[in-house]
């Protein structure tokens, strides 16, 4: 279902209407991740050194032969394995990318470059290349560094030069923005970051690398200025990570503070031991580079395989955009909220407590933001248990530990379409508290809305995603088609039950469903015609119609009047769509041809009745209105109304106008009369008149009853009995003859 919403000119709004019609406006559901789309983190170029020295062992030993204990004694355990510097660099950079792609599946791009005697560019800035699987496949093809390769012709410099060239290349996002901005295309910035994983010789060597990058940027910027597919680099951050084996002294000094080398380039140097030190360094870097923060979910109860009856409590650490902690950061609660330093680095994590979900109810929480997460330790057992639990459609509320002991739910974990989001819930007082009920507002007292029908309408107008290329012949996007469908479906759509006859009739359904369509087939037209014939048949058999009878104490309008109302309404519906196609036109023609009475006959009858009316009115003024009041068409109706007005003035006092809404089964049926016949030119009868009419009738009961009614059978009394006795059928004939 799609509705549109636009602001109207104030002059158009009648104050009475919006007095209580209020919407509430919680904060936006998903928050942006920063005010600059093309910040430094838009492009990240990884340069990994593939020179022979990277094949050196990290000297971190891993025991992989763990089963010796349970084995027979004679077996000699295998020697532990150790990763090379290269392997350490690769797996840590892959971990960096994994977290990045989990939290930012779009907009944040990685270009992965491997450098030895030549440059291996493993992927491009294209969005489809941004996943770890592709990168792993490409890395497998490169393989580990060859220790026998000539070290003289190998250098990480090739990679750095390629990285600068690559940063100049325009991304799909930059291209799209530039195309849409047209004249102001220069607002699209080109910034980027180079993360270089290498084993440097000395501080001088590092300096040389930095100088080389700066020179290349200046060179490339000149080239880029003259190209459409290239953009000069405005800002570049160089992050050099020097990796050295464990147990060795570093030859490169750490320089974590950003050093500004030029207006375009800043640089920092991290000197790290291989192995887990490197892993935690890159984990810290990915958080710094992409504004991430860490949350540890604590007290997750998990059943042990061995001890199915007990459950142990586990912790799982998640990374996400730091805005999810905004409330803590701003209120200075960060430390109070159980923030501690974790072993995974120097960074801080906020501890939130697991609340065992009680129900699986789909509840709309007052959510002020949703942020993608990535588990720090993705394939550990507690992590995968938690993520699988969430991916299976469950939600977990998270509680903020407070010293005072009061329980505050501040976040919720839940998945949407295979992605897990950390939702921020509003834990303070809401400005939307205690809103008035909609029934207190405009239209709130009406009780016979076609709620079920509109529900059906909404289901028919539900939206579904279409592939990007789906634009119809008229060049409309799917959303435009949805809006035009809504327009068609609502051309004639009475909002309350007492305003309509045809929509209360099962027999009309096939036609009503088809006529709103954009195109009709011949078969559809046939179905519509069948519906019409069916109605004709019903009329012939004088089947009752679901016309409201409220306002008249008797049976309501006579059968032929009922059908006339029904046909008129049906015509209104079909006329609203007659312009759509020639086939729609045929349906209208069918109705015009089939409907009960040809207009001439109708006209004649009308005038005949009018005569009767007049006689009625003059002779038995005010008598048995409900008997005759609704039996004829508009002009007659008018007469009745006039008479009612007379009555009203006679009765004068309209006492209690009950405040309580009318029950559904006693709807004011007269509204149907009032709204439908389009030929009624004298303007609609207001609800007030109808209401007072009803009250008048109620009051009339308090008077002495009329003789005619007293002697009636089935609430019907034969009129003019004396005339009949005297003249037989003359009256009627007279009536006609006078014309």
């Amino acid at each position: 279902m799609l509705t549109t919403f636009s602001r109207a000119g104030l002059a158009n709004v009648t104050p009475a209407i919006y007095l209580k019609c209020l919407f509430y406006f919680p904060q936006s559901l998903c928050r942006r991740t920063g005010l600059r789309m093309f910040s430094v983190s838009h492009k990240t170029a990884f340069v990994v050194d593939h020179c022979p020295y990277m094949a050196e062992s990290s000297r971190q030993l891993i025991e992989c032969d763990m089963l010796t204990k349970s084995r027979s004694q004679g077996v000699i355990p295998l020697a532990p394995v150790s990763k090379s510097l290269w392997t350490c660099a690769i797996e840590c950079s892959m971990e960096y990318c994994r977290i990045l792609f989990d939290v930012y599946p779009t907009w944040k791009l990685v270009n992965y470059i491997v450098s030895d005697s030549e440059v291996h560019i493993l992927n491009s800035w294209k969005q489809e290349d941004q996943n770890t699987h592709e990168l792993m496949a490409a890395l497998a093809a490169v393989g580990p560094p060859n220790p026998r390769q000539d070290p003289e012709c190998c250098s990480v410099l090739h990679g750095l030069v390629a990285a600068v060239e690559s940063l100049c290349k325009i991304t799909e996002y930059q291209h799209e923005s530039r195309t849409t901005l047209m004249d102001t295309a220069d607002r699209v910035a080109n910034r980027g970051r180079i993360i270089c994983l290498t084993n440097a010789k000395s501080d001088t060597h590092v300096r040389m690398l930095e100088d080389c990058v700066l020179e290349t940027i200046q060179e490339q910027n000149k080239r880029a200025a003259g190209s459409d597919r290239l953009m000069p680099i405005q800002q570049c951050e160089l992050v050099l990570v020097h990796i050295y084996p464990q147990g060795e002294e570093t030859l490169v000094s750490d320089r974590q503070k950003k050093e500004v080398l030029s207006s375009m380039l800043s640089s920092e140097v991290h000197s790290v031991r291989a192995g887990r030190y490197l892993a935690s360094k890159l984990n810290v870097l990915v958080q710094q580079h992409f504004d991430l923060a860490s949350t540890t979910i604590t007290n997750i109860p998990m059943k042990e395989e061995q001890h199915a009856n007990t459950s142990a409590n586990y912790d799982v650490e998640l990374l996400h955009h730091r805005d999810a902690h905004m409330e803590f950061i701003k209120s200075g609660d960060l430390h109070m909220a159980g923030s501690t330093s974790r072993d995974s680095g120097l960074k801080e994590t906020v501890t939130l407590k697991w609340c065992t979900p009680r129900t699986n109810s789909v509840e709309l929480h007052y959510c002020t933001g949703a942020y993608r997460i990535s588990p720090v330790d993705v394939n550990s057992r507690p992590s995968s248990c938690l993520t699988n639990f969430l991916l299976n459609g469950r939600s977990v509320l998270l509680e903020q530990p407070r010293k005072s002991g009061s329980k505050v739910i501040s976040h919720m974990l839940s998945s949407h379409g295979g992605e897990i989001f950390l939702h921020v819930l509003n834990s303070t007082r809401s400005t939307l508290e205690d809103p008035p009920s909609i029934s207190e507002g405009c239209g709130g007292r009406v009780t016979d809305y076609r709620i079920t029908d509109f529900g059906e309408f909404m289901r028919e107008n539900r939206l579904t995603p279409f592939p990007d290329s789906m634009i119809d012949a008229a060049g409309r996007t799917p959303v435009e088609r949805a809006k035009s469908q809504l327009e068609r479906y609502t051309r004639y759509w009475p909002m309350i039950i007492s305003q309509t006859t045809i929509f209360n009739m099962q027999a009309v359904v096939p036609l009503a469903n088809l006529i709103v369509k954009d195109t009709l087939t011949d078969e559809d037209v046939l179905t519509c015609q069948k519906t019409v014939y069916n109605l004709v048949d019903m009329e012939r058999k004088s089947d009752p119609l679901p016309i409201s009878t409220v306002g008249s104490r008797g049976k309501g309008p006579k059968r032929d009047e009922q059908y006339r109302i029904m046909w008129n309404e049906l015509e209104t519906l079909v006329k609203a769509h007659v312009g759509t196609s020639e086939r729609h036109q045929r349906v209208l023609e069918c109705i015009s041809a089939c409907r009960s009475k040809p207009p001439e006959e109708e006209e004649r009858k009308k005038r005949g009745r009018k005569r009767e009316d007049k006689e009625d009115k003059t002779e038995k003024n005010g008598k048995d209105t409900e008997e005759k009041g609704w039996t004829t068409d508009s002009e007659r109706l008018k007469g009745v109304m006039e008479r009612e007005k007379d009555e009203q003035s006679e009765c004068e006092i309209i006492k209690d106008s009950p405040d309580s809404p009318e029950p559904l089964n006693k709807k004011p049926r007269l509204a149907t009369e009032e709204q439908q016949p389009p030929e009624k030119s004298k303007g609609p009868v207001s609800l007030l008149t109808l209401w007072t009419n009803r009250i008048t009738q109620a009051n009339s009961r308090k008077h002495q009853e009329f003789a005619g009614r007293l002697s009636s059978v089935n609430n019907k009394a034969e009129l003019y009995q004396h005339l009949k006795e005297e003249n037989g059928m003359d009256v009627h004939e007279n009536g006609k003859a006078t014309r």
Binding site: Y24, E95, E128, A137, R187, R276, C442, M470, V479, M495
Partner: protein
Amino acid sequence: MPTVVLLDSSLSMTRPVSVEGSEEFQRKNLAVHGLTMLFEHMATNYRLEFTSLVAFSSLWELLVPFSRDYNTLQEALNNLEDYDKTCLEAALQGVSNVVQQEWGTSCPCQVVLVTDGALGIGRGSLRHSLQTVKQRVDDKKFPLPFPFPSKLYVMCIANAEELQATDSMDNLEQLINLNGGEGQIYTMEGPLCLKSVQSMFGKLIDQAYSPFHAVLRCGNLTSDVQVFPRPEPVTIDEEVDPIPKTVQTEGDEIGTGATDDTEEETSTNQMAGKSPNFCVLLHGSLKVEGMVALVQLGPDWFGMLYSQADSKKKSNLMMSLFDPGSEPLPWLGRMSQLGPASDAAENPYGEDDSKSPFPIQPKHKRSYAQNVTVWIKASGLQTDVQKILRNAKKLPEKTQTFYKELNRLRKAALAFGFWELLKSVAELLERECTLLPDSAHPDAAFQLSHAAQQLKLASSGDSKYAVFEQNITPMLTDFSGGGGADRI
């Protein structure tokens, strides 16, 4: 958006204003008059807005906590007493505390400061506060910018010339700048009198408290609505698109006001309650069906409408705005690509409503939804090796799982250039082969030595055997027949 009214009740506010008429006003009377006007406007147009009243001089006092009861606010205003000198910094700190205690730091608030522009002398004066603003230690920081999103409106019961004669105007401007430029200074035009104070507060009302009227449209069904609180403009990207987005304002005209407005004044309300309104119909159906309706607020800006009930079972139509953009909720896909379900070849919701085209799955699974291999911790690697060995012991029953785990390890080792591991696991498998008990199935030995050999070949880096996408397949033996896993 809640409002805090911060009213200067220092002695200088009792200074009389020179008027030609007989009545003599104090500046305070003018302030009260202006605020009365604001409160009256709120009571009529913003009845759901929370407002609190804080008076300050050298100390500050919360006279009325956040409330929708404008009578109480008015009463407190009328009973205001006079105190000593102006000390704005403490008062602003007070406002900051009051707001945070009530609403936290994410709820935007408006602060209306009403003062005569005499901002104190010496210590505690605004001038002094601003001069020392850069020399603060952490726990004595200047309260601005407020930690919550805010607008600071300064209502001066003084005219601009008067303020410019001293440094008051400069100081106030500095105050707004400290709040990130969020706010505005209003001064009185012409002589200080009831009329000019009215016009000043009138400007504030137009700027900050104008009700938001709109038309909700669903095809030909429409309804006039007021949106509360007022949606504020949003800046999407300060660089690419620096103009804040506002909810569509173009006069998209539609025939509104179709209800009988010929009725008498007194019955108008009743009639409004009784004539059908599309909002009520929509709300009822959304509630019954448990659905939400998408609503478009402008080009590339969407939100949703739904029925929200409070604890007392009172429900109303609620609107949530999404971030402006073409794809605000990833699991709905691009908004412009959402079309009528009836246009689809097959009903995406299923004939019996059992299916849904949502949520849209991302093209690539997230790391936690796929079986990724991470060996950063030694335990990760050890677990993977053990899984292989465990399955190796249960060959040939577990042939499929054995090779699945083996290939997972092989892929990761190839990508990480960790050939040493492949050799090591090959040796483990060979040893496992020699340790097989006599009762073991003959196929087990074949599979183990086949796997070991394949790993060794891969670890040689030979391009024929080290292809990433190629898996080691179970060896076809006389015993394995149609595949080991099928047998018991």
